[in-house]
């Protein structure tokens, strides 16, 4: 090998070696890059899904095969064998027939071709000839014209004969085919039957081919080749109307969840052995399915669940674990870590329902979204909006009672103990605890008194101030004495229990329970005076204009009995709590602290010298009310226009977690919004732990002592308050009908009508709303307040209006009394309208059929006869008094029908009472529209019902027979 001697700086062989190695490394690294690019987590998930589907399909095929082996298939197979044997015997004839049939097929084909060519020729010639003949005839060249015509006719003749030939051959073909079928038809029949039987198995086999992995599958999904027909595909739904806010613009959502959650919208994947992500969505009728209310191709997933729509891996779609245990599990199994760069992570499992609010905020209740619903109710009941402005809650009345006249109701000592710890007086007190919290346990330090002493000073000042501003009401002494035992009976029966309890130990799991609507009355004797209770029972609005307590139209004696019973209940333990005296030193320190915030040291001292004890108390009292925001829940004179003191919560769910103050607890509490909110609600002042703050800088939010369920519900609600704005098209917009219904529902909720009555026909809705809570306290079904589902189509709206304004007795045997609520005209109309619209009944007027179509004498007579025959008065009260029957069997006063009931409803009721009020004791006299009485009015059920209707409507005018018993 001749090596030329050149000048080289490097040894070429070394360079070659480096180049070779480098190139191989580059190749390897390129393959690495391709592999990294093409191996995606979602592809693995889909492969796993396909293999699961394949094994599932195989199992199904096996089952189907087993079913096929037995029975029918065997029989068919033996028949087929027999038929084939039969055919074998006639083999020659069969073969000849087949040959003939195929020969004729050929002939048919040929003749068909001939005909078609002939027709084509004729058509073209005809076109040409028409013109020429017309021309010739115009030029009067008749003979030539005729000749041309004859030519044309000849061609037509050819075509016609071709057609005839074709028809002949076709007939022969049919005969030949029939012959073949005769010989072999049975076989075809049987084979068709067998194919049908195998259909399921064949379908499954086809499915298996698609789903099973094979070389083709691998090839079709290989890098570079997967543009053609890959089986591993990203599944996405593009939702231009549901937009995602990324701060400087809004982009359409592109939900790729179905890439991994392959069968989320298909039924059948909900067994315990089906593991995520290959599970069907729960409640498919409501979500996900094509026919559901929220089909996945219109709503996608992330609009409700949050998360990163365009993500395709477990981590970068921002899945959120529900609790530390699940978080650990995910970290180990999936290498989960928080998706730091997405502002709207998925809502964790406990808080799914937060997503409902952005579209359904106009509804009063959303029973399908339990935790959200309960949370919203807790917000209303607890009065969160009193300190924290929330859009949509501004118009609600203040959650706590009016303090303008409190000095006439109770005394300063009671108020002191109450404010210091409401729970010491009443279990389930709605008033939260402002004092004695974790950040108020400091020991005295130098000049500064102990925190508990300072609290006492603050409370004393508060009470003094409120008492100073209270407007007195003069209470006359009670007219007589009451009987506490009778009072207790009244309390148990008259309906108080729908909203109140008098059991000091009764705790409600959820403070939004209808029976917790009014305060727990145990221990009332420790709080107020009998004169006050008496006057309150007789006229609640005298003390607090916006109270929800209705007027039960009690007589003086009833009110005396009730008030003496309630006053006999004292809270001994509470009474024994001492009210400490606040030392002047403590008061001075506090006053100085607040004065020196505005004035210099010297000026403070001057001012202090001018203030006596009472002046200091009043000064501090005003400062405390401003500091703690008492006016957020209570009306206090002088603070009517004060602004809420807390953070606005309208968009709290969208707050970046960096804006939340974790204090020194960043290691204990996970760094997420839900965790922070949950900790805050659990113990609002905990973030002051370890911090050095001046007295006034300490956190002020009081402690509501929420249960864990309430806490979860409230965290759901906070996450629901987000800045997401739904497109108007996609929101649940209420139609006019629905708007009226929701308006009425709102009033019904606000006045706790559901404490006594049910309004929904749907049993699950009734239960989830806790309707007719009073039923838990009344054993006898007969004494339950009536169910109001279907009231709209039943009663005349004007009657209902008047009834709500001033209730009259419909069911005299009931001990529970319908109270007078003192609603405004608008509210009363709204309730009446709600009922009508809920039942699609005409509102507000319906024809007065009684006047419109007067009854014929036959009808009237028939009606009277049927009324006696069916023994209506055995159960229905008429006039005064009541029949001797169980309360459960008694029925309303029929003399009210004329003014109360809609005439067409009476007929509907008579036709089928059970359909209108399930569980009613009213017998159905006309099952399947057949009357038991075959004579009256010709046995025509419809006529009889009409007659009865007229009779009942006429009862009021006629006057009624006296009390009846049986007969």
């Amino acid at each position: 090998m001749a090596v030329e001697k050149h000048d080289r700086n490097y040894d070429t062989r070394d360079l070659n070696r480096v180049f070779a190695i480098g190139s191989l490394v580059l190749l390897a690294v390129t393959l690495l890059m391709v592999a990294d690019d093409y191996s995606r987590q979602w592809k693995d998930v889909q492969r796993r899904f396909h293999s699961l589907e394949a094994s599932r399909t195989r199992r199904e095929i096996q089952e189907v095969e087993r079913a096929l082996q037995a029975g029918e298939m065997k029989r068919l197979q033996s028949e087929l064998k027999a038929a084939e044997d039969e055919l074998a015997r006639h083999r020659d004839a069969y073969e000849r027939a087949v040959k003939a049939a195929s020969r004729i097929d050929g002939e048919v084909y040929g003749k068909d071709l001939d005909f078609r060519f002939a027709k084509a020729t004729y058509d073209s010639k005809k076109y040409k000839a028409e013109q020429e003949i017309a021309e010739l005839r115009k030029e009067r060249k008749e003979s030539e014209a005729d000749a041309k015509q004859a030519e044309l006719d000849a061609v037509k003749g050819k075509m016609d004969s071709a057609k005839l030939a074709l028809e002949a051959v076709t007939a022969e073909q049919a005969k030949a085919k029939a012959e073949v079928a005769r010989l072999a038809g049975r076989i075809d029949d049987l084979q068709t039957k067998m194919t049908k039987m195998r259909a399921t198995r064949d379908r499954l086999k086809k499915k298996l081919e698609i789903v099973d992995s094979s070389f083709t599958t691998w090839l079709v999904n290989a890098p570079m080749l997967d543009f053609m027909a890959p089986t591993l595909l990203i599944q996405q739904v593009v939702l231009p109307k549901l937009r995602h806010d990324i701060n400087f613009m809004e982009i359409p959502r592109v939900d790729r969840c179905q890439t991994c959650h392959t069968v989320i919208d298909k039924p059948g994947y909900d067994k315990p052995t089906d593991r995520q992500p290959f599970r069907s969505h729960p409640d498919l009728a409501l979500y996900a399915e094509q026919s559901a209310k929220h089909p996945i191709d219109r709503f996608g997933c992330t609009a409700c669940h949050g998360g990163r729509d365009r993500g395709t891996s477990f981590v970068n779609t921002a899945h959120t674990p529900d609790n530390p245990k699940q978080r650990k599990e995910w970290e180990e199994k999936y290498g989960w870590e928080k998706m730091r760069y997405w502002d709207t992570p998925m809502r964790s499992r406990s808080h799914f329902y937060a997503g409902c609010y952005q579209c359904h905020s106009q509804q009063v209740t959303i029973p399908e979204a339990g935790p959200l619903d309960r949370g919203l109710r807790i917000v209303e009941v607890s009065g969160c909006y009193g300190c924290h402005a929330i859009k949509g809650f501004e118009k609600l009345r203040k959650a706590g009672p009016d303090l303008s006249h409190v000095a006439s109701k109770t005394d300063e000592k009671w108020a002191f103990r109450w404010i210091r710890n409401p729970r010491s007086y009443r279990t389930g007190a709605r008033m939260p605890s402002f004092f004695g919290q974790d950040n108020q346990k400091d020991a005295p330090k130098g000049d500064r008194p102990a925190a508990s002493d300072l609290n006492d000073a603050e409370i004393e000042a508060l009470v003094t101030y409120i008492w100073d501003k209270a407007v007195p009401i003069k209470y006359d002494p009670v007219p007589g004495t009451g009987n506490p035992t009778k009072g207790k009976e009244l309390f148990d029966s008259i309906g108080c229990r729908a909203c109140h309890t008098d059991d000091a130990n009764e705790k409600f799991a959820n403070r939004a329970n209808p029976r917790a609507f009014g305060p727990n009355l145990a221990g009332l004797g420790s709080k107020t005076s009998q004169a006050w209770v008496f006057r309150w029972l007789k006229d609640p609005k005298h003390y607090w204009k916006e109270t929800n307590m209705p007027n039960l139209r009690l007589s003086d004696q009833e009110a005396l009995d009730l008030s003496s019973y309630l006053m006999s209940r004292r809270n001994e333990a509470f009474d024994r709590i001492p009210v400490p005296t606040v030392s002047e030193k403590t008061r001075d320190w506090l006053t100085r602290e607040y004065l020196s915030a505005r004035l210099s040291h010297a000026e403070t001292e001057v001012k202090m010298r001018t203030m006596d004890t009472r002046a200091k108390k009043l000064y501090l009292g005003e400062k405390m009310i401003t500091k703690y925001g008492c006016f957020g829940c209570h009306q206090i004179k002088g603070f009517e226009s004060a602004q809420p003191i807390g953070t606005e919560l309208t968009e709290e769910g969208s707050k970046p977690v960096e804006r939340l103050d974790f204090g020194l607890k960043e290691d204990e509490i996970p760094n997420t919004l839900p965790a922070w909110v949950s900790a805050k609600l659990d113990n609002p002042r905990q973030f002051d732990e370890g911090k050095i703050k001046s007295w006034d800088e300490k956190l002020k939010m009081p402690n509501f002592y929420f249960t864990p369920e309430e806490n979860t519900a409230l965290v759901t609600v906070i996450q629901a308050f987000s800045k997401a704005r739904m497109d108007v098209d996609m929101r649940r917009n209420l139609s006019a009908d629905e708007a009226f219904i929701e308006e009425g529902r709102r009033i019904v909720r606000d006045h706790n009508c559901i404490g006594c009555h049910t309004f929904e026909r749907d049993k699950t809705r009734t239960e989830s709303l806790g309707e007719a809570a009073i039923r838990a306290t009344i054993q006898d079904v007969g004494y339950w307040p009536p169910m109001l589902a279907g009231e709209g189509e039943k009663v005349i709206p004007l009657w209902l209006f008047n009834f709500l304004k001033g209730p009259t007795t419909i069911r005299p045997w009931l001990t529970a009394r319908m109270p007078t609520f003192g609603l405004s005209d608008h509210e009363t109309v709204a309730i009446s309208r709600m009922f009508a619209h809920a039942d699609r009944a005409e509102y507000p007027f319906e024809s007065d059929y009684f006047k419109l179509e007067p009854a014929s004498p036959d009808l009237l007579a028939g009606g009277a006869k049927l009324f006696t025959e069916f023994k209506c008065l055995q159960c229905h009260v008429a006039g005064a008094g009541k029949p001797e029957r169980d309360a459960a069997d008694l029925a309303p006063n029929l003399s009210l029908a004329r003014s109360r009931l809609r005439p067409l409803w009476i007929e509907k009721w008579l036709r089928n009472p059970e359909a209108l009020q399930p569980g009613t004791r009213m017998p159905g006299f006309f099952p399947d529209m057949k009357s038991p009485d075959k004579e009256t009015l010709g046995g025509d059920a419809a006529q009889q019902i009409r007659a009865l209707r007229y009779h009942v409507l006429g009862l009021a005018a006629k006057g009624l027979p006296a009390v009846t018993t049986g007969n």
Partner: protein
């Protein structure tokens, strides 16, 4: 271990880091032994060892392995390597010239340069290897995309791109007009002017140190210490609110450091003369203005008489004055830094009325 970490944290403070680094660097330029192959390997071992051991600390790891910062880590090694290479070649050539030989570059041929296949083949190999490195990099370090920009939430710290971190560091000591417009402008003008100011004919086409001692020292001081080191400082040691955080410290967003800096005029009038500041800005700032003028006028003259006599005579007055002006501007940065660290000096001349502060 914690003790050592604390020492390193303290020493990384700019007050120590910059002077120590400057002194070490300038001293090393006098000692060719530093720049031998052995010296280079020792330096590499020390730096890699430091990095490797520090990676065990979680806070260090978070900052250094952040995809944005990985190139700056490689910058440390690359700049170090090329500086070492240049100076190593330079000292080699100095040794050869002292022995009477020609510099290495001129050894083989005076009018030919290596091209085919040495240069071109090696370029091809570099391309291949570089491609492989880039691909591996892109596979394992993902692009540092963050959340959608939110105008109400600025990131903290808000850092300039790496090539401007030196200027951002300057902003600590100088007001934005000076640090952001004047001085960078002068850097560019200085670079443009260099060919006209540099009249040293030696060092053409071969590495050397002895023949171009002054030029190389000034350039390397400005580049390695005042530019690269500040980039490294700005990347790794500046955290939220542009506070200093040692390499092993947690970047606490709420960390508060009092910045009690005093202007020269306040030093003189309030602390020294114990009167209030004069209301007329000229009166107030006249000491500072005089100082600055003296710095720019007297210093060149002083240097011309004593240390830079050679330059003055060779370059001529105009070139010399321009060169001194640029040199003084460059050194104003470390001087200001030292004044800030020792005296808490804020501005020498503070004229907020005209947005002019030095």
């Amino acid at each position: 271990m914690q003790f050592i970490k604390n020492i390193i944290n303290t020493l990384s403070d700019p007050t120590f880091l910059l002077p120590i680094a400057a002194v070490i660097f300038l001293v090393s330029l006098r000692k060719p032994a530093f720049w031998s192959k052995k010296g280079g390997l020792i330096a590499l071992a020390l730096v890699s060892g430091f990095m490797g051991v520090s990676l065990f600390d979680p806070y260090f790891r978070i900052i250094v392995t952040k995809p944005d910062n990985v190139p700056i880590v490689s910058l440390i090694f690359l700049v170090g390597f090329f500086t070492w290479l240049a100076l190593h070649q330079g000292f080699e050539n100095d040794r050869r010239i002292a022995e009477g030989k020609l510099p290495a570059e001129k050894d083989t041929s005076n009018d030919k340069v290596w091209v085919w296949p040495d240069l071109v083949y090696t370029e091809l190999i570099s391309m291949v290897i570089f491609g492989a490195v880039l691909i591996v990099w892109s596979v394992y370090l993902k692009a540092p995309l963050e959340e959608p920009a939110n105008p109400t939430m600025a990131p903290n710290p808000s850092k300039a791109p790496w090539y401007f971190l030196g200027l951002q560091e300057m902003l600590v000591y100088y007001d934005p007009w000076i640090a952001g417009v004047l001085l960078p402008g002068l850097i560019i003008i200085g670079l443009m002017a260099t060919p006209f100011l540099d009249i040293n004919p030696k060092g053409n086409g071969y590495f050397t140190f002895k023949d171009r001692k002054y030029e190389i020292t000034v350039f390397l001081f400005g580049f390695v210490i005042l530019w690269i080191l500040l980039i490294i400082l700005g990347t790794f040691l500046r955290g939220p609110n542009w506070n200093f955080f040692g390499p092993y410290k947690y970047w606490d967003v709420h960390y508060l450091l009092p910045l009690n800096n005093v202007n020269l005029s306040e030093f003189i009038y309030v602390k020294g003369l114990k009167t209030g500041l004069p209301s007329n800005w000229f009166l107030r700032e006249v000491p500072g203005i005089i100082l600055v003028l003296l710095y720019f006028t007297v210093t060149p003259l002083m240097f011309a008489k004593r240390w830079f006599k050679r330059f003055f005579l060779n370059m001529g007055a105009v070139r010399y004055q321009i060169m001194m002006f640029l040199l003084l501007c460059m050194f104003s940065l470390p001087i200001k830094m030292v004044l800030r660290w020792t005296m808490n000096l804020k501005y020498i001349v503070a004229i907020p009325e005209y947005f002019f502060n030095i």
